[in-house]
Symmetry: C2
């Protein structure tokens, strides 16, 4: 059947050329007489893929020499615990700035680790309300974030997929200035959406399944200084040092996932790299927010303008019944993945790199027509 217009929040749409490349050589990778997933992770065929994927991350993101790029497993959720395990010890403190549900999850895992090690967690939460009424509609301005200069690190979630709030889209909502404190960012849902100054961060990490590949791989960009600081008395599988020393081949990596990332990043480079991607992503977001803002309140974004995400555009309609109708009619028109997260409801349009402007334009026109019909 025809290809669906896929606004899934993750796992999400992948660029068709990256998928077609994989399909074409699925049974016989590079004339080797076997699938890429049947190759040894220590053989030259896979090694070339692995090295190319690493090099593409470095090239696209302009990663400085004093950083390592790692491909690990367990998704961002595993990293929530792993980061705390590496850098917390007795009487140290880590800072968490919470702008949504993923930050809360990261915090929960860090608290468990802090309790094990006798460390502390300092929390700055920008949400309002409590419990089920908790609401996240913004990211803080840099001046709002109080950095403890003695903190082991300061953790942020660069883009909250459920709430649609994102750091760094508007200049007034840049990432916090942390001075000498390593800034650690979960970038699962906005990794590689645009150029970034990596040197401002101690660690970037991202589950691949939103912007750069299938689920099952988490990409970590980490400074060598932090790698050195990591604890040596925790299990090796959780030490960034071990993975860096072994080029992410300490244990068997998710080879097919890394291969797909290679294909996606190769496509991304063809789009003009991250500068080209940013132009497209901003154009997509402008189109959608334009419809919302021009709808006389029919479509309502709950997010403060300066904090609006370019990756996950969330909005409400006048009633839940209309939202259900919107989703059903969009589906009939070949568009899927529009239902908001079950915890907040409404509509969520995930517009990751692989989602084309044409797809977004088709949806935007649908939104305009849908409103006219009401």
């Amino acid at each position: 059947m025809a290809r669906k217009i896929n606004f899934n929040a993750g796992p999400a749409a992948l660029p068709l050329p990256a998928l077609e490349r994989a399909a074409a050589e699925f049974l016989d990778f590079a004339g080797s007489g076997m699938s890429v997933m049947e190759h040894s992770h220590r053989g030259k065929e896979y090694e070339a893929v692995h090295d190319e994927a690493t090099a593409l991350v470095k090239e696209l993101l302009n990663v400085p020499e004093n950083y390592e790029v790692l491909f690990l497993q367990g998704g961002a959720t595993a990293l929530f615990a792993q980061i705390a395990m590496n850098f917390l010890e007795k009487d140290t403190t880590a800072q968490y700035v919470i702008t949504g549900a993923w930050g809360e999850k990261a915090l929960g895992e860090a608290k468990a680790v802090a309790a094990m090690f006798g460390a502390n967690i300092a929390v700055q939460n920008v949400g309002t309300g409590e419990g089920k009424e908790k609401s996240y509609t913004r990211v803080p301005a840099p001046s709002e974030v109080k950095v403890d200069p003695a903190a082991a690190y300061l953790h942020v979630t660069s883009n909250e997929t459920i709430h649609g709030v994102e750091f760094g889209v508007d200049p007034s909502r840049a990432f916090p200035e942390t001075g000498g404190v390593p800034l650690v960012a979960d970038m699962s849902s906005d990794f590689l959406w645009r150029p970034l100054d990596v040197s401002k961060f101690g660690i970037l990490y991202a589950g691949a399944q939103k912007n750069i590949g299938p689920s099952g791989v988490v990409v970590v960009v980490i400074s060598k200084a932090l790698i050195e600081k990591g604890r040596k008395d925790i299990p090796k599988i959780w030490q960034f040092r071990i993975h860096a020393e072994n080029k992410s081949l300490y244990n068997t990596p998710p080879t097919f996932g890394v291969y797909m990332i290679r294909n996606v990043l190769s496509w991304l480079k063809d789009q003009g790299g991250l500068a080209g991607m940013e132009r497209i992503n901003r154009k997509k977001a402008d189109r959608l927010y334009g419809v919302i803002d021009g709808s006389n309140g029919f479509y309502r974004s709950p997010v403060e303008k300066e904090s609006r995400s370019v990756m996950n555009v969330v909005f409400r309609l006048p009633s839940e019944a209309l939202e259900e109708q919107f989703i059903a009619e969009a589906k009939k028109a070949g568009m899927v993945g529009l239902k908001g997260h079950r915890s907040v409801g409404g509509i969520r349009v995930s517009t990751y790199n692989a989602v084309s402007y044409d797809w977004v334009d088709t949806l935007s026109k649908f939104m305009e027509e849908f409103q006219k019909g009401k």
Copy 2:
């Protein structure tokens, strides 16, 4: 090009029908207009795959009702640490029976966890020699294993891929009888090679990339009683309880890997299930060991007969030069993956489920011819 005869140790050969099934629907899964890896892990299309993979493990292995089947990430290496994290606490002891390099790795991670929690590890090592001279050529008989009835669990590696020793092939080398102590087995390289009485184990776990799928998924079969016993104060991502409660969907699973496992297990069922697979696997091993034992010492197995693995057949030739020549000539004949692990040298033939008797027979004939030429 023609399909290679693939004896890789892992990632390893997969059944061609399972690969062809994936290739045919790679761009359009089940008429859904997208790849299976673009589907949400919470959508009905992926859910059906996930549930079928789970059901196939249960059916093939005849998993009792009081066990859960989980699909996790990080490979067996992550489980080395995770198991210890769940079940060790202050002043408890875990027992490790070491029959090779993978057992040593599991032990190393458990020791790190034990140190964190003030727990103890008791080790029974059946190897001989020390350091670089360390040699593993056997698994213990049940009577040799001294079980501490107070141990939190007793850990074994059912098959050591590097050394080619395996529990349970010969009746005299059955798994240890542990009474009330949970028996925990790393079955990465021999999971589902034959029927098994799961009720004798507390946990079975297996990285998928040898016998049942691509790398990036680890299958865990765990008793509900052990799940209940697991610590609740460790990060959620490492608690088996959390994954069981969430049907392995607590965080995004490696969806394409689980899909490939579904395809492989569906093929395995078509081979007559595990009883059928055992017949084929034993026939393959008999063929290879027959050539070795009939070679008047030209091919030498370092492994005691009762401990010989049916999954990884390791042997030496009269010289390293001949071994190199053997590997090179086999490669010319379309056979790859025969080089022994770098830590022990020699030849290793990995004969996992997807390696056909015909492939093994072709290699066996090659071995006979190679010897004649010397």
